[in-house]
């Protein structure tokens, strides 16, 4: 009991209250609903009558007989891949270029950051103005008749860049701040050692940005998993734009809600997010040790 002696009764009370409050809130607002979803996912419930326990029935239906499910999983993963492999690196590239104090760099910086202040629902609205088959700018200018948003084989590839447009600006501003904090002496030292521009960046600057990289990775994963508003604004997340978050809403919210079924989809989303969180936290703890 040695460490205990260091704390007075008052300290312990403060710790108990402080920690207790945080734990209670966490339990009530995060774990309570999450576990409730897990429990509900085993039931058939319309929100009115008593829930009926059906075990794994919802999951079996999901995997085997709910056509939008697998497209939604695939779309969420594509979304993550697009943001992580294309939008985020592009944001980094923009940040690096802007960091070299080009002429008009302020203008570029503002132009690239501008979409970040828009909500994704607004981005979805703008996308419709551009890509609508009948009145969209793109078809009007090019004379094409492509149904960019209605054709389920291409609409995701139109919407992801629209979402990426916003994500790029977000990532750029974070990296720009990160790059400003990299000690210029590091780059000078690398240059003196004869490293080229590319080598300096990849071997010296980029590793020095590690804390920023982690933040960018985390927000990218979050953005990919919570993507919802842009597809909902465009076509309510149907017909090629299915996402897990949309399916959850679609099933739970509504007149005769399939709350059990929707909860099962929510649990899958929870499992996927938890997977990323576990990987991320284990990385962090390993590095810190």
């Amino acid at each position: 009991m040695a460490p205990n002696r260091r704390y007075s009764a008052g300290d312990r009370a403060v710790i108990a209250v402080g920690l207790g409050l945080a734990v209670a809130l966490e339990l009530a607002l995060i774990w309570g609903p999450a576990l409730a979803s897990v429990a509900l996912s085993g039931t058939d419930w319309d929100g009115i009558e008593r829930p009926r326990w059906i075990g794994g029935g919802n999951y079996a239906d999901l995997a085997a007989e709910y056509p939008p499910f697998w497209p939604a999983v695939r779309n969420n993963l594509l979304w993550l891949g697009f943001l992580a492999l294309i939008a985020a690196p592009f944001g980094l590239l923009c940040a690096v270029l802007l960091d070299r104090r080009l002429r008009l760099s302020r203008v570029y910086q503002n132009a690239l950051y501008l979409p970040v202040v828009l909500s994704l629902a607004v981005v979805g609205f703008i996308a419709q103005l551009v890509f609508s088959a009948d009145y969209g700018v793109l078809n009007a200018v090019t004379g094409l008749t492509t149904d960019w948003l209605g054709d389920s084989s291409i609409n995701l590839w139109v919407v992801m860049p629209a979402a990426g447009w916003r994500h790029t600006g977000y990532v750029m501003i974070i990296y720009l701040a990160g790059l400003k904090s990299v000690d210029p002496a590091l780059k000078e030292a690398a240059a003196i050692d004869g490293a080229g521009e590319g080598q300096t960046f990849f071997k010296v600057v980029f590793p020095a940005l590690r804390p920023v990289n982690v933040i960018v990775l985390v927000i990218t994963v979050i953005e990919a998993l919570r993507a919802f508003d842009i597809v909902y604004a465009i076509n309510k997340g149907r017909n090629g734009l299915e996402l897990l978050s949309v399916l959850v809403t679609e099933n739970i919210v509504g007149e005769a809600a399939r709350i059990g079924f929707g909860s099962a989809i929510a649990v899958i989303l929870l499992v996927i997010s938890t997977g990323f969180i576990v990987v991320y936290l284990s990385q962090i703890f390993r590095e810190d040790r």
């Binding site: 209605g150 076509n235 149907r238 509504g254």
Partner: protein, 419 residues
């Protein structure tokens, strides 16, 4: 669904997240029905015209003071469950048919059979049936409705001497002529998911009759039945005459291309009139979807009914019933039909002399139909309509050659939902 939903997107999430559980009763307001002499009305009439109509009708009510809580059309529908279980208003706007029965059977609505004993003479038996639940009692008072039909511009047709087709072959031939004349034969839009239900309904009723349609909607028939397959086969044949790229288009846009004379005809509810400038409304005409199977002719149409119900938790039941009686009056419904030319009065005693020519034609169409369906999303379980049928019909429109697999998928999901 099944009616104009201009404000569908957006507000939904906010309301869903923050107004739980008392949702549509006007987030943050005091719970309805305070004290004697006040009746609260939960209204989904969030568009300007219906909102104004309801206000005017209520202003003419001599009984209790009425307070109307208007909620965005869609938000209201999405939250109806929580609303009725929370602190609902005394009276609320709703729809007839399956959607009414669903809540009546859950014990969330008040029996208004006594009101019907007084107003019954104003309504046809079909309307009474549409207001009754399985227990034979009435839970709903019809206010206005609108038929689904094929709409066209008289001037466009007169120029080229087109005539309303009487059979499917005539329709196909007419569509071919229109194409040669540089028109898009049949307007089509299904970005919002529900308009295509109107096409499914009418093809099913023309091919297989009203009874089969209703039986299919209530989950009693198999979707892999050859009769259902015939519907999709027929539809696939017609799809080549439909406006392409329908999944990226809203009904408003399709209606505008009809208004501009680019499209020859358009199957939609009478609310299509909203997209026409008032002075061009006289040029809009309609005909019923042509006969396919001579056995059924053109004896059935979709004509969804909007009306009012009393919640089970109503505080001022007497006042609410008096208000329902007032809403059932022909004079009340005429106020609404005059303001909104896309609707018709439900009361048989309503004065139709004030109708526009289009309303007149719509009323004739309905009185000529032996069976009135309520539209797919009102004739079946709402969860089946939104989570199964919307994606399924969109998939069909995108890939019309994959009918067998599509129907197997629908049937599998139907079995899970109607258990």
């Amino acid at each position: 669904m099944g009616q104009p939903m201009i404000t569908r997107r957006g507000a939904l999430l906010g309301a869903a997240a923050f107004c739980v559980p008392a949702a549509p009763a006007g987030c943050g307001g005091p719970p309805g029905g305070s004290g004697a002499g006040t009746v609260t009305v939960g209204s989904n009439a969030s568009d300007a015209v219906p909102k104004k109509a309801l206000q005017q009708v209520v202003d003419g009510f001599g009984g209790a003071t009425v307070r109307i809580d208007t909620v965005d059309h869609n938000t209201f529908q999405e939250n109806i469950n929580r609303y009725l279980r929370g602190t609902p208003d005394d009276v609320f706007t709703w729809f007839s048919g399956y959607r009414m029965r669903f809540f009546a059977e859950q014990g969330l609505a008040t029996d208004v059979s006594d009101v019907w004993r007084r107003i019954g003479g104003d309504y046809t038996p079909a309307l009474k049936a549409a207001s009754s639940a399985a227990d034979g009692r009435q839970y709903f008072v019809p206010f206005t409705y609108y038929p689904w039909a094929v709409f066209y511009r008289k001037s466009v047709w007169a120029d080229r001497d087109y005539r309303p087709p009487k059979t499917l072959d005539e329709l196909t031939a007419l569509a071919g002529r229109m194409k040669r004349d540089g028109l898009i034969p049949i307007g089509f839009a299904d970005k919002d998911g529900w308009p295509a239900m109107g096409t499914f309904d009418i093809l099913n009723m023309r091919l297989n009759g009203y009874d089969f349609h209703i039986s299919l909607m209530s989950g009693k028939e198999s979707w892999t039945d050859r009769r259902v397959k015939a519907v999709f086969d027929t539809w696939r044949g017609l799809l080549t005459h439909h406006q392409p790229a329908a999944l990226g288009r809203t009904w408003q846009e399709a209606a505008q291309s009809l208004a501009r004379g680019q499209t020859g005809m358009y199957l939609l509810g009478m609310f299509v009139a909203q997209q026409f400038p008032p002075r061009e409304l006289d040029d809009l005409d309609l005909f019923t979807f042509p006969e396919i199977n001579p056995k059924y002719g053109t004896d059935a149409i979709d004509a969804p009914i909007d009306g009012y119900m009393i919640s089970a938790k109503a505080r001022n039941v007497e006042g609410a019933k008096a208000l329902l009686e007032h809403l059932a009056a022909a004079s009340s419904q005429n106020i609404a039909t005059e303001l909104d030319p896309g609707t018709l009065a439900c009361s048989a005693k309503a004065d139709t002399r004030g109708y526009t020519p289009l309303q007149q034609r719509g009323a004739d169409l309905v009185s000529g139909a032996r069976h009135i369906a309520q539209f797919l999303d009102r004739d079946t379980r709402p969860d089946f309509a939104s989570t199964v049928m919307i994606p399924a019909l969109q998939r069909f429109i995108g890939r019309p050659d994959d009918i067998d697999a599509l129907l197997r998928d629908i049937e599998a999901q139907k079995t899970n939902i109607f258990r």
